[in-house]
Symmetry: C2
């Protein structure tokens, strides 16, 4: 992937973050937000929607606050810059927050959360997205799948990581079902008339998780992202997959926060206490015998342990897209 | 209520916050967290579970961080002190966070959120609680109904306010159904064997909202509250309603945060932009003709406009409790 982006004259920092993010995410088994998106990103660069050589501007507005103008950079890059800035501020004041405007799709929010947890902070990452989630009590969408990610370091393993869309599922997961010609469960989404659908090709809106609660969380996240950044709210953001990609900018907004654990409890003690809780939960009696109880991030840790050895599976349809965007890829070498 | 607390030698600051919180909450129609709780609080003071004259200690550990030892004060009081400290820090650095330990039930989280929004900040309030929510994939509870509250000021009306339990419903709402002898919906809760129940008297655990997502959010909140404060996690917190109240402390933990909007976008512009979004949503075509689409907090605003004129209804069973705890109340004067 690096070579393909280099061929497209993408700047080294962007390449670093895009490749790291997508591979990390696919290794974690989150196929909706991993390397499957790579061909789309290349097309977005070709269409000049994503800026290959952005001038990202960081304005520190308070000792704990910064505004990051992403200049339409890869969201992966802008987000990493912003989270790193948030961590830097957190190490001084205890908390750092960064509002990102004029950005693009940032893939998995967890990628940024891990950057905070790896430096002994609690990490938060949020983004808005184009309107896809059914407004509670209405027929149409107003907010996007607006995810929330929260990370916290553990004593003897990778961080606790909650990374969830505020919709029942992510749009990219529905896309994966469509690609694989599989029906989606009835409660996931609705068609253009607001009726439930199982055909992923007919999906117009996704249902908010927990009805009005997910709808409220999605709005909270758009306030933290779009409104705080002075950027567009979900409803006014262009779709990720328009009929034809062009240079029109999506102007996504993100919000990142890091909290320095050491300002509250010694980091070692915190990790130990949280590890004990995680350990206790994993041995709770399961509802179904043999199906171990897990905490957020456990399925991804399990996937990681397998895929880091066996590799990342890529289905045929996606691989055709890889072949189409770069000579880097070939039938014999699936790099 | 003030007189009743004065008779019990509760300190003036505690009285101020308890009374303000409960009346505000009941006026907003949130009967599960309003004055209905007052008789219980009085019994908890009598049992010495709640400290009537606490020495709350605020330790500022960074320019954006503080630890508040509540000394088993009324949570309403400890929370207000902590949120006010968070706002004070936010006005300097852009963000203020306060972790509260050794606290008690704080009633509606919105009470604290409003204190931030009223000072042109985004407000966050979280608390842990005793284990009541079914662990995803298990039979028993590990985390409490651990709520999240988020507030943001608007241009022409009271703040946007999302205040939600991460369970399908709050425990106090189930108590209200029990008091009113009403069945609860099948998907709300489970009995001691993990089976769904409609009899509120048989409820052992409440279901997390959105299954594993609400479970993950509940754990996130316990990390922010209990773990960060070095206090007990939900599982190790005593129930709000034990068979017999005694002086054993519950040691609840809370987490408050204020973000100064002005460090990101001019406050006037922020309020205008958010107001426009709220206005736009309210005129979206509803799914059911005549049932207006709302944003979080709208039902409470509607209730407030009615109750501030007509008063707060109190059912007979609760009123009997009021009569039992104080001579302040009588059949003829329902103050």
């Amino acid at each position: 992937m690096q070579k393909t982006l280099e061929q497209r004259m993408v700047n080294p920092d962007s390449i670093d973050h895009v490749v790291s993010s997508l591979i990390q995410t696919s290794l974690r088994g989150v196929d909706s937000h991993g390397i499957n998106l790579f061909p789309h990103y290349c097309r977005a660069v070709d269409a000049k929607r994503i800026n290959r050589t952005p001038s990202i501007i960081i304005s520190q507005t308070g000792t704990s606050t910064a505004i990051v103008d992403a200049d339409n950079a890869f969201g992966h890059h802008a987000g990493a810059v912003a989270m790193d800035k948030a961590v830097e501020m957190a190490k001084k004041t205890g908390v750092g927050t960064a509002s990102v405007k004029n950005s693009t799709h940032f893939a998995a929010a967890a990628y940024f959360g891990f950057r905070a947890a790896d430096r002994d902070c609690l990490g938060f990452a949020f983004t808005n997205a184009n309107a896809l989630v059914k407004t509670f009590g209405a027929k149409e969408a107003f907010f996007g799948t607006n995810p929330i990610c929260f990370t916290a370091p553990l004593e003897r393993e990778g961080p606790f990581c909650l990374d969830m869309a505020t919709a029942v599922v992510s749009w990219n997961k529905i896309n994966n079902y469509r690609r694989e010609n599989r029906d989606i469960p009835m409660h996931w989404a609705s068609d253009s008339k607001g009726n439930p659908v199982t055909d992923p090709g007919q999906v117009q809106t996704i249902n908010p998780v927990g009805d009005y609660k997910g709808y409220g969380l999605g709005m909270m996240i758009d306030i933290l992202c779009g409104v705080l950044a002075g950027g567009p709210a979900s409803k006014d953001i262009l779709p990720m997959y328009p009929p034809k990609l062009d240079s029109t900018k999506r102007r996504l907004s993100h919000f990142f926060m890091a909290i320095d654990i050491d300002k509250f409890l010694g980091v070692a003690q915190f990790k130990k206490n949280l590890q004990r809780i995680v350990d206790e939960i994993r041995v709770v009696e399961p509802a179904v015998a043999g199906q171990k109880v897990m905490v957020a991030g456990d399925p991804e840790k399990k996937n990681y342990s397998i895929r880091v050895i066996e590799g990342i599976p890529v289905d045929d349809a996606i691989f055709e897209e890889f072949l189409a965007i770069s000579s880097e890829f070939s039938r014999t070498v699936k790099s």
